[in-house]
């Protein structure tokens, strides 16, 4: 039932997500600021919601009937399908974006929360744990969990060098991935506002995003410490606590999202937003850009450094799969 509740919550959030879009944007298309209130926009939003729930409700029904968690994943193609259709229909109402770009040459320098120490802390802690494990091998648990389902730990491995150091490497790769995203949002994304209160809001929004990813980077590191030192402490409440913290942070992001002007926009061409979700622009030097549908930042998949960062999460997942 928890899974059904999560699925319903996510779908409800996606249902209302069009209302959280920045002014001047409609399903990731630059439009006249008055367009979202028009009857045509209402029809597009309705079709998005119908497609979304057309996938969500059957996935819930199939999961309830068969108890197979795989059916829950049906929501993902449903969202992409709904978004693709809405984005395509919105393109018919696209308005020309502002081509002028203004940049402040005197913007204050931004720093990563906690500085280099905070950036390196999760990775250094994992390195320290690896060193401790090598010297206290017999104090490690004989077997420990590496995967958790809705009812707690459901996959365990025996204490071997491959499993112990594989776990640490996987968690290290995951922490590195989150740290890189936090750093990237702060230093490798575009400042779209040249001055005034909106520029201040943008800086604050970037900082909150960096803090979120720093917190996420600490999670795999903390998990590794608990697994190898006290595996009995891992339980479903830990995942629940992480979800609550994540929800609080997301609410902070929504509350503090910058009110970019509809006219200036985010300086990303409409044609580079694929399905309205994925930004692909090899000519854009920014590694991260503001999401056009949703809150936060997304990769510029046309930039090779985005793929270099994604390689770390692929490494983390691959190591986890090997550990099963």
């Amino acid at each position: 039932m928890i899974l059904v509740a999560i699925l319903l919550l996510v779908s409800a959030f996606l249902h209302f997500l069009p209302r959280l879009t920045r002014p001047g944007l409609f399903f990731a298309v630059t439009v006249d600021p008055a367009f979202p209130a028009s009857p045509a926009a209402a029809r597009i939003t309705l079709s998005f919601r119908i497609i979304l729930w057309s996938f969500t409700l059957p996935s819930i029904a199939l999961f309830c009937l068969t108890q197979r968690q795989e059916f829950v994943l049906l929501q993902i193609p449903g969202y992409y399908c709904a978004m693709a259709v809405a984005h395509r229909r919105a393109l018919a109402y696209a308005a020309p974006a502002e081509s002028a770009v203004e940049v402040s040459l005197s913007a204050p320098r931004e720093s990563f929360p906690g500085g280099p120490i905070a950036m390196l802390a999760p990775l250094v802690s994992l390195a320290a744990l690896a060193l401790w494990a090598s010297r206290n091998w017999n104090r490690l648990p004989e077997h420990f969990p590496v995967h958790w389902g809705m009812h707690g730990a459901d996959r365990w491995v025996w204490r071997t060098p491959a499993s112990v150091y594989g776990l640490l490497a996987a968690d290290g790769a995951m922490s590195l991935f989150f740290v890189l995203i936090g750093v990237g949002i702060l230093y490798w994304s575009r400042r779209t506002s040249a001055g005034g209160s909106v520029a201040f809001e943008e800086r604050r929004f970037r900082r909150i995003n960096a803090q979120v990813f720093l917190a996420l980077a600490c999670f795999p590191a903390g998990q590794a410490w608990i697994i190898l030192l006290q595996p009995a402490a891992i339980s479903a409440w830990l995942a629940g606590a992480a979800l609550v913290i994540g929800a609080i942070y997301y609410a902070a992001l929504i509350r503090n999202r910058p009110r970019l002007s509809a006219r200036a926009g985010d300086h990303t061409p409409d044609r580079c937003w694929k399905l309205g979700i994925f930004y692909f622009n090899p000519s854009d030097p920014a590694v991260f850009v503001l999401q056009r549908f949703g809150i936060g930042y997304t990769f510029n998949f046309g930039n090779r450094w985005s793929w270099a960062m994604l390689a770390t999460i692929v490494a983390a997942v691959s190591l986890r799969v090997v550990l099963r």
């Binding site: 770009v101 203004e102 940049v103 402040s104 575009r190 040249a194 000519s283 854009d284 030097p285 920014a286």
Partner: protein, 129 residues
């Protein structure tokens, strides 16, 4: 201190960056010692390739405005203005006439162009005094 370029303009981005920065330098808004954003930072914010910004910085460095030898961006340096030679003066007059002709071809009346030129001349005189 704002730098503004138009990505849809027929004028190349590097030229717009050079002209925009030069305007700030000439007006004293970027005094000697001021640090400009790094090539990466300015390129990302403007949405142009890093090489475009680097070329703009090199152009201004060749004119004596910037020191780009240091790591971490460009710094404005004190510059002794060169004495204009007859060829540069003729080139400047030609570009000014071309700019005025461009304004007239876009429909700006002569009277308005003349008023703008007078206003600019007055502001230059104020700076000099």
């Amino acid at each position: 201190m704002i730098l503004r370029i138009d990505l849809a303009s027929s004028v190349p981005a590097v030229r717009q960056i050079v002209d925009g920065l030069r305007l700030l330098l000439v007006n004293g808004e970027l005094p000697p010692g001021a640090q400009l954003p790094s090539v990466r930072r300015l390129g990302t914010d403007l949405g142009v390739h890093f090489n475009t910004v680097a070329e703009a910085y090199r152009t201004l460095a060749a004119e004596g405005w910037l020191d780009i030898a240091r790591r971490g961006g460009a710094r404005v340096i004190a510059r002794k203005p060169p004495r204009p030679d007859p060829e540069s003066a003729a080139g400047f007059q030609r570009r000014l006439r071309e700019l005025i002709a461009d304004g007239q071809s876009r429909g700006f009346p002569r009277g308005r162009i003349a008023r703008e030129l007078r206003r600019l001349a007055e502001s230059l005189e104020e700076v000099r005094s």
